[in-house]
């Protein structure tokens, strides 16, 4: 398998008959350093577009409750506008993956979005996850980890998901007056999942003190992120042996200082390096590969591009192809990319089609859209994805892909090469040749182990 084929399949969103894969690791790193074309071509709504809908939702709820005329209709209208915005986010995400020349950036965005998982708890922030990824994750995938950590930790969608926006220092002015208090959720997950990792040395006391330090992080519909000193627990907090705040009025800078320190910790470097290697290369990655990535992280103050460079420069990153399974969204995107599904078709997908041909299949493949099982995100192991019911759905979806492709299917043998590269196996070519129809031939390629692995 050529480097270019492997680069597209292992580190990108797959091969395409119309878009050339990156030539080598250098091309991938250069593309990442360049402009984000896919984002410019397929935009996603920002918080600025979500806030008015949230305000209208509240107003419509009041109107409905007061049994005002048209209140129910107004509520229905705004909730459907919010859901449409979520679907627009899905469409953009899919189109980027299908049409990009910089697939590594898409895959990195998905990886880090999963690392800093969020989920909408109700209709209010239904369009929130895509916005969060766009604002807090995507701009930083080629930058410094510390910047991404800060952006993710204070984004309103994260503050809501892990309950930080209601956590109030028990001894703060607001806490004393309202008898409200602490919520440890974000503090724990930052240490356990986002930075140090659960195996690192931290204690319940670190979690509690860190939770106290994080008090004051919140947001308003008018201003977005906001730090409220009146919510902040007074006094200094000790996190991982270091003292933060306490000398002057509480400020978000104390929190940012702690986040920066935690981002710099060797445990964080090792945790992130291993997680990247597990995601891109193997469920049980080469220790030398992980060590090289950890060293790059430490040597370059968490500059992620240097970590990726170290990964791509290591021979183990290119060995053992097919060790991982494509996750369901990736599988669907790679299928359409291999088919060369047109931009026009994807842009014209109707709501019902998205539900029938994408959302429902995603759920049955085990990856309901934007609904990860918990703050630790989606599983990595191939056997978590290739289960009997999930594989059954991949097969069934593959056999009916024409409805989503919306155009005549390609000749199956040519398609096998387009989807898997010139080195496609003889067994697969033989199977495709024996298929009874174009539809079945294309379906067999998409349902094959080779296409579902990377």
């Amino acid at each position: 398998m050529t480097i270019a084929t492997r680069a597209a399949i292992r580190f990108g969103t797959g091969l395409s008959p119309v878009l050339a894969p990156p030539a080598d690791a250098g091309a991938m790193i250069d593309a990442l350093a360049g402009p984000d074309d896919a984002q410019a071509r397929f935009p996603v709504a920002g918080l600025a577009e979500i806030w008015p809908l949230i305000a209208e939702l509240a107003a419509a709820r009041r109107a409905r409750k007061a049994v005002e005329e048209g209140g129910a209709a107004r509520y229905k209208q705004v909730t459907s506008a919010i859901k449409d915005m979520q679907l627009a986010g899905l469409r953009a995400r899919l189109m980027r993956a299908v049409r990009t020349r910089d697939g590594f950036r898409e895959r990195l965005t998905w990886f880090w979005a999963d690392h800093f998982t969020v989920r909408a708890k109700n209709v209010r922030f239904r369009a929130g996850p895509a916005t969060y990824v766009e604002e807090a994750i995507r701009p930083h995938v080629g930058g410094r980890f510390a910047d991404m950590l800060r952006a993710a930790a204070i984004h309103p969608v994260m503050l809501t998901y892990l309950d930080q926006n209601n956590s109030i220092g028990p001894m703060s002015p607001a806490g004393l007056r309202r008898s409200r208090g602490l919520n440890e959720n974000l503090a724990r997950e930052i240490l356990e999942l986002h930075t140090l990792g659960v195996g690192a040395r931290f204690t319940q006391a670190d979690v509690t003190e860190f939770a106290e330090l994080l008090t004051g992080l919140t947001f308003t519909v008018d201003d977005g992120f906001r730090f409220r000193p009146r919510w902040a627990e007074p006094g200094a907090e000790h996190v991982l042996g270091k003292r933060y705040g306490g000398d002057r009025r509480a400020s978000a800078d104390d929190i940012f200082a702690a986040l920066d320190d935690i981002a710099r910790a060797p445990a964080t470097a090792a945790h992130l390096a291993r997680k990247l290697a597990v995601h891109f290369v193997s469920d049980d990655p080469d220790p030398g590969l992980v060590a090289a990535m950890t060293d790059a992280y430490m040597a370059h103050d968490g500059e992620l591009a240097r970590v990726y460079e170290a990964m791509l420069a290591h021979p183990a990153a290119w060995e053992n192809p097919g060790a991982k399974a494509r996750q369901p969204f990736e599988f669907i995107a790679a299928s359409l990319r291999a088919l060369g599904t047109s931009e026009t078709r994807l842009a014209a997908l109707k709501k019902g089609e998205i539900k029938r041909l994408i959302l429902r299949p995603l759920a049955r493949m085990g990856q309901p859209y934007e609904e990860p099982p918990g703050p630790d995100g989606w599983p990595e192991a191939a056997d978590a994805w290739i289960t009997p019911p999930a594989l059954a759905e991949r097969i069934s979806w593959a056999m009916h892909v024409k409805a989503l492709h919306g155009a005549p299917l390609p000749a199956p043998r040519a398609f096998a090469r387009a989807a898997l590269g010139p080195e496609v196996s003889d067994d697969l070519v033989a199977a495709v040749r024996m298929a009874e129809s174009k539809r079945a031939g294309v379906g067999i390629v998409l349902a094959s182990p080779a296409f579902n692995r990377r």
């Binding site: 356990e192 204690t203 094959s448």
Partner: protein, 399 residues
């Protein structure tokens, strides 16, 4: 206010698992002989992911410290149906009171796995499902305790055990054969394509195993009506239970599935209420779906990774804790009672000043249930199914 006898196992539970016995030292797995193979009894294990708040589900209203720890903000104004004069049931489980009264529903309280202190959902669930203590390194916990139980049963077939739904279920995964299927799964392809895929999959063990089950089940097991409404989520817990009942009425003896969403850091009153309604529907669906004759032979164990803080947190919820509760149901269960030694909720009785002190290993209840159901040797349970477990006295959870 200790309610029962002296807290004999308190030392163990303060410190986590006894570390002496390791899996490596356990005797080799031996098959056990039964009159009927693999027996007629049914076992359903439900993993409640996210840490169910045992104190809110089975409320120790008789403990003088309870009311002050849990305001109406959390628990609501109604105490819920009385269970035994000391505990009351969460009102959202009121539908299960007929089971309680007929003795087919019980609980074990103040229980925990040997997992302590980090309070991570994911590690907590891994340990719950592996059934191990701390003596087995994390990366060696590849299979689940329910799978090791299946491995110890004689006469199992490919239909004996089912993992139901789309979630990963480590508790039942492992070397012993288990089928995974979901009630809304479909296999939609022509016969020739199927043959071609089967041949392609032969070269890939993972696809071979998954494909075989999928093709086989698509032939033999009726799924739900596929033309149904477009759900973008997976099936509800009650649908999983209905499917489990369908299988358990046939050759299947063991089934597992999970219910997510118990992590109630905020707005616990509403969130937990919804969760418990779904749990109640799950159990009544199982009872109805199995019918009286098979329900009489069934044990349901619903377990969670840990409990939650005894005090409400600052946002109408609770944070990650330690001791929690387990639910037992089915015709084999000696229900109508709350098992376990109640440690009390006085400040001095709490674990690390914040959590319910676990007074017994949750695995002991599961182990005694399996001993009762399948007659499995205690050494096998303590050495292989739950390595390092001291089963202790028989709590008498089964009739």
């Amino acid at each position: 206010m200790p309610r029962n006898t002296a807290l004999s196992r308190r030392h163990f539970l303060r410190t986590g698992a006894a570390l002496g016995c390791s899996a490596a030292a356990a005797p080799l797995m031996t098959r056990v002989t039964f009159a009927a193979v693999p027996g007629d009894n049914r076992l359903v294990v439900i993993i409640l992911r996210g840490a169910m708040d045992g104190l809110d589900v089975v409320r120790p209203v008789g403990d003088p410290a309870f009311a002050a720890l849990r305001g109406a903000d959390l628990a609501g104004k109604k105490p819920g149906p009385d269970l035994d004069g000391f505990f009351a049931l969460h009102p959202a489980l009121a539908e299960l009171m007929p089971m309680w009264r007929t003795g087919t529903l019980g609980f074990a309280h103040a229980v925990a796995t040997p997992y302590r202190n980090k309070r991570s959902h994911f590690d907590g669930q891994d340990i719950l499902e592996a059934g191990s203590g701390h003596d087995v390194p994390d990366n060696q916990m590849r299979d689940g305790w329910l799978n090791r139980l299946i491995g110890a049963l004689p006469g199992t077939t490919s239909e004996t055990a089912y993992a139901i739904g789309l979630d990963q279920l480590k508790v039942i995964s492992g070397a012993a054969p288990v089928r995974q299927w979901s009630p809304d799964a479909r296999v939609d392809l022509d016969a020739q394509s199927r043959r071609l895929l089967e041949r392609l999959y032969e070269g890939d063990p993972l696809f071979h195993a998954a494909g075989n089950t999928a093709f086989d089940l698509a032939d033999h097991v009726p799924g739900d009506d596929m033309s149904g409404a477009g759900k973008k989520r997976g099936p509800t817990p009650a649908r999983l239970a209905a499917y489990a009942a369908d299988r358990l009425r046939e050759e299947t003896r063991i089934a597992a599935f999970s219910i997510n969403g118990w992590d109630t850091h905020r707005n616990q009153r509403a969130v937990l209420g919804d969760q418990l309604e779904a749990l109640a529907a799950t159990l009544t669906t199982l009872e109805t779906g199995l019918g009286p004759e098979i329900w009489a032979k069934t044990t349901v164990l619903a377990m969670t990774e840990f409990g939650r803080t005894v005090r409400a947190n600052g946002t109408g919820g609770t944070d990650h804790g330690t001791g929690g509760a387990m639910l037992l149901a089915g015709g084999t269960v000696r229900g109508g009672r709350v098992f376990g030694d109640w440690p009390g909720l006085d400040e001095s009785a709490l674990y690390e000043g914040r959590d319910l002190l676990p007074t017994r290993d949750v695995r002991a209840f599961a182990a005694w249930a399996m001993r009762g159901l399948y007659g499995i040797d205690q050494g096998l349970l303590e050495g292989t199914v739950f390595p390092g477990l001291d089963m202790g006295d028989n709590p008498g959870v089964l009739i």
